[in-house]
Symmetry: C2
Subunit: 358 residues, 2 copies
């Protein structure tokens, strides 16, 4: 059950166990999973699993899908999630482009729209553009759980209010979530782009702890601790770009000296990718040492321009710091250009599967 400070009653118990079973059905994917396996994985009795899956089948969320080979007795019936039973929309609002995807319960993309969009065109125009894209995608399915919107810059995830989108001061304080929810009549969740990407990557690995480092026009991080995106008290966590790694170093746009972002992008500007990767690696190693995470994933346009060099450079620093012990692996984040939009859609799906926010 998720960490809360509130009491739990029978309905809470039921929804917890139901979410747990749904999550296992999802992670099992197309192969499916049998009732007894569900019982083993959850610790519930087979009978309880039968009751839960029976309800899910009645609601159309689960279905039988063949059976396993017998091991000397009645073969196990395999259950699977019915992906078409629910959909969510994810929107990635970048500085110059809007990308919206429609995903099913499995997280598979079943619809997509991509159009140029100037974030500076004003709140009304952007809200309207997002709303039209969402409505267009929603047409093809019976119902939509909600819309997740991811965009750069600091924001208040809990209230869904933007703080100061870098380069677009007119957005400061705009209640994007409520404006969009009112316009669409659907639940809306607003999140930072790096957090959305991290959430999208987190759904694949149950309970993993990793950092997603995004190097594009800026440098940010999405932190996943124990399978949950860590946003912090004021939902401002992940300020990776302005970690200082060089006391009294060069001045950064933020006003400080020796920020990773300034050093890293400066090196990129000079064409010195190896140095940029080394600086990124030092920051990653700091993060790994501080939080003891399992994995570092790299993404963003700048990384995509020389993926092998960045991975190799970061990996080298982590290896050196591990001092003989096994170093934390470094990889390019899967998902590509749609990763953020897909992750934004996952904000709506996650609660179904018991993956609450952190």
């Amino acid at each position: 059950m998720n960490r809360t400070n509130v009491g739990a009653n029978l309905p809470a118990l039921r929804s917890h166990n139901t979410a747990l079973v749904l999550d296992l059905l999802r992670t099992a994917g197309g192969d499916g999973i049998s009732r007894l396996e569900l019982a083993e994985r959850t610790g519930l009795t087979p009978q309880a699993v039968s009751k839960i899956t029976g309800r899910l089948r009645e609601e159309g969320l689960a279905a039988e899908a063949g059976r396993r080979a017998s091991t000397g007795g009645k073969p196990r019936t395999v259950l699977r999630l019915v992906p078409e039973a629910g959909h969510a929309i994810g929107v990635h609002l970048d500085r110059d482009e809007l990308r919206a995807v429609l995903v099913d319960l499995d997280g598979a993309v079943v619809g997509e729209r991509c159009l140029p969009m100037d974030l500076g065109a004003g709140a009304e125009a952007v809200v309207e553009g997002v709303a039209r894209a969402a409505e267009g995608l929603a047409e093809s399915v019976a119902s939509v759980l909600g819309v997740g919107v991811a965009l750069p810059g600091p924001l208040d995830h809990v209230r869904g209010v933007l703080h100061r989108v870098t380069g677009f001061p007119e957005w400061d304080g705009f209640p994007l979530r409520d404006a969009l929810a009112a316009r669409l009549g659907l639940p809306v969740v607003v999140d930072k782009d790096t957090n959305a990407a991290a959430l999208g990557l987190a759904v694949a690995d149950e309970g993993a702890s990793f950092a997603y480092l995004h190097l594009g026009t800026g440098l940010g991080a999405g932190l996943v601790i124990g399978g949950v995106v860590h946003r912090g008290a004021r939902t401002g966590a992940g300020e990776f770009g302005h970690q200082v790694v060089q006391l009294d170093g060069p001045v950064c746009g933020c006003g400080n000296r020796g920020c990773i972002e300034a050093l890293c992008l400066g090196a990129v500007g000079r064409g010195d990718v190896a140095e940029a990767a080394r600086v990124l690696g030092v920051g990653a190693a700091n993060l790994v040492g501080l939080l003891d995470i399992d994995l570092v994933l790299l993404g963003g346009r700048t990384v995509a321009s020389a993926p092998e060099e960045f991975v190799a450079g970061v990996r080298a620093v982590l290896r050196e710091r591990a001092r003989g012990e096994e170093a934390v692996p470094v990889r390019i984040a899967p998902g590509g250009v749609r990763g953020v939009a897909e992750g934004a859609a996952q904000s709506l799906l996650a609660p179904l599967f018991g993956r609450a926010d952190g």
Copy 2:
């Protein structure tokens, strides 16, 4: 309910709610708390709270303690925790000293032993010393929940095995938890000193997120995120001292360059406390930005030698980085020399109050 991947049944529901009520009774302290307040805080119905507190009173864990002023009707009956209903022992194994405390359910110290102890005297002698101290303290009470042991250096908190206690290679791989549990016949928990201190500080604040930075002969951190000590995948989190804040800086004992610990202790060695505090502040600011925590607490012998200067220096860096927004507060960690031992004892008490490990 705590975040797990396991199903929950009725006994789990009951123990969750019971722990929640116990936690509220504890945080209420001597003032106590009424049944209706418990109901409001937990979200349970008053009737459920009555049943739960009724069981707690039968078990002797709770008791009635007077009544509130009436607000026009029957006055509320105040309930409080019975501190003497349970005890735990916390042991702080430092390089040259052993400190053991006996605490009650409230966390109040009701017994203490402190003796010189050379960590290099060998496993058998140290285990025996700890066992004798624990037995001596346990004599005065009916029963003890268990013993928490905190010591410096990296270790495996889950298995209770030491890795390499800095300066004492003979401890490498020693299964301290099992050895002590076998010797005493009591549950034993082993933790890093910084984590124990952090846990001790965390019990006061429900759900707080903060960092405890310990500057003594070394530099380490205990991280509390959402009221839970964050230990990481391999229970190695909190490697704060070897965060690199100066690329290609001076060589540190760990082999890297520009570690906070090397810079900070170097400055202390030169008598430049202001510079040490500035370096510590840069590290603290990195941490605050990355995790978006609420509070920074400072402790350790070196900090204790010039507390105001360290607090002021760290605070100045955080203020500068906050750029006009309200900066995260910096304080000296309360608890003093007994803080680590008290926190170690809390490792045993925490599960009673639903504060699972992170």
